[in-house]
């Protein structure tokens, strides 16, 4: 029984990663109707930025600010840097292509993804890099007989705070209503006076920023990073956003958490080798019975 709860915590932790990355996909898709294939690579870049800040030069940042201070600083800087990269990506690879239709944007996104991935390889080298143990909290605590690491607590708390904040902004503020309107029907929203450019900047800043922070967290959790990380996480996160209903922000959060739990439980109770297959089967079944995802709404086409 304790094992189950520990696996549940593990699942929720991974699920948080998926959820935060999925938010990037879903926000961009909702407003731009574009699948940002490069998003997984942005997340990876965050992990590398964190590595550079924390580990390079012998525990650089952590040395000066302490373990937790270093972490905060690393995540903050990763968020900022990724926000800038995200905006550049939009300007260079997407904005000139919107008018040409949806498929050219897909190819461009793939090209950007290849570019970013290989750029990271060129800069940081092809080998795995490690977040050394002195920059990562290693303490473990015991709650009701369940072992849980301090790092996991921090990740879960931070993730839920971030998701909660975003949820409140999107559901309860006027700006959030503007985002939701733009996601439903961009042209009409623009006609209603909503400044779409501001919204585009917002999603391309916040999505990558969240992704970057998640990259640092993943680096600390798994300790090993590589430039191909983005592919696996990106696909899972994208799956999560589709599961929740693509374009739906609470859906991405639910989808991500669910995916993490399903994957973890599948790995432990069914088979680790087939866990990804299991995840995809769950997705396919959900879509067969709910073609618009768990929380997605069927937007009927006027015939």
């Amino acid at each position: 029984m304790h094992l189950f709860f520990e696996q549940l915590i593990n699942g929720l932790t991974i699920g948080s990663f998926y959820a935060l990355i999925a938010l990037g996909y879903t926000m961009v898709y909702g407003v731009m109707k574009l699948i940002n294939f490069a998003h997984g690579d942005l997340f990876t870049l965050g992990a590398y930025v964190g590595y550079t800040l924390l580990v390079v030069g012998g525990a650089g940042v952590g040395h000066h600010f302490g373990l937790w201070g270093g972490m905060v600083l690393a995540m903050g800087l990763a968020a900022v840097i990724l926000a800038v990269v995200g905006l550049l990506l939009e300007r260079i690879a997407y904005r000139p292509i919107y008018a040409s239709g949806r498929l050219p944007v897909v190819v461009s996104a793939l090209g950007a993804s290849i570019f970013l991935e290989n750029a990271m390889m060129v800069v940081w080298g092809p080998r795995y890099l490690a977040y050394t143990s002195d920059v990562v909290p290693s303490a473990m605590i015991r709650v009701w007989g369940i072992n849980i690491t301090v790092l996991q607590v921090m990740i879960l708390v931070l993730s839920f705070v971030l998701m909660g904040a975003l949820y409140l902004v999107v559901q309860k503020t006027t700006f959030g209503a503007a985002i939701r309107a733009a996601a439903l029907d961009r042209d009409t929203a623009a006609l209603m006076g909503i400044n779409i450019n501001v919204i585009i900047v917002f999603v391309f800043v916040l999505g990558p920023a969240l992704g970057g922070m998640t990259g640092v967290m993943v680096g600390m959790y798994y300790r090993q990073i590589s430039f191909t990380m983005g592919w696996g996480y990106g696909l899972k996160a994208f799956t999560a956003s589709v599961l929740g209903g693509i374009g739906n922000i609470p859906g991405a959060m639910v989808g991500g958490l669910m995916l993490g739990v399903v994957e973890m439980l599948g790995a432990v109770y069914i088979s680790a080798a087939w866990k990804d297959v299991f995840v995809f089967l769950v997705l396919i079944l959900v879509l067969i019975f709910r073609p618009n995802g768990l929380l997605g709404e069927a937007v009927a086409e006027k015939v």
Binding site: L103, A112, L116, E117, T239, F280
Partner: protein, 331 residues
Amino acid sequence: MTPMDRLRALPGLWKWLPAVAAFALYPLAANDYLLDVAFFFGVYTLLGLSLNVVLGEVGLFDFGHAGFYAIGAYTTAILNTLYGVPILVLIPVSALAAGLFAYLVVSPVIHLRGDYLLIVTIGFGEIVRIGLINNPWGLTGGSNGVVGIDNPVLAPGMVIENSLGFYLLIWCLVALSILGLENLQRSHIGRAWNCIREDEIAAKATGINVRGYKLLAFVLGAALAGVAGNVYASKMMVVSPHSFTFMESAMFFCIVLIGGMGSIPGVIVGAAAISLFPEVFRGFAQYRMLFFGAVMVAMMVFRPAGIWPCRRGFLKMPGRPAAAGPRNGSA
């Protein structure tokens, strides 16, 4: 008129003359290495053509096409190494296996909206790849794959075993495929596919069995990919799951789009771009893929319709000129 328009205007099969001439003359100038390069160019062309049926003609987002390619390759590999079935006999068998697989897995999801179908096809591709790695029933050899695949035998004593032989084999298959696909494109089937791509509801209301034609496209596309898998397996003599990743599927997608969606000559050009580009830049090693990604982005910025976009209006009333100029082929 541009040179391309002049080429298009040639009647019937004559427009293929330059390509056929190049194909026939190439081996005279090429060594084994270059013939191998041309072989892989041919494989990518066949794969591009197979995806073009689904993506280019019907407009369905298929991002798991490498899965069908893998099914074809592994069907050939397993049946040949376990039961000694000859390679050429396995061409239709692989096509059938891949087509049947496509029919079974795509039927339940064929009605899904574009982006959802995309993620589901990615899922299928991954399921195939992971399945192959996990070596169910010990058939697939796991991560190391299947080894010891034969060479194709045309007749007793006539074995295709060198670069020239494989080059001829793949390009003959490509030529046959192009013949068939061009016929389909001009027929009511090609029209039905294009109608579905343009407006699915209007297609339904006009009497087209949308579900049936979508499935047909997937099955045909899978079958052709299966054929490519067969030839690939025989040439490499080894198949492993690492050749059938998502990145492969993404490359097929790019071949169709960079060449020009729905356009058969475009697919050839796209396949050339994708398979020859890394060769050209071999010297640059590390920076090669960097450049490749940048070029992809640049291509979409400056020429989103593709290098050789599809020209609409196959049906011409005799004696009447068609609307002038190539049109933007993307939806």
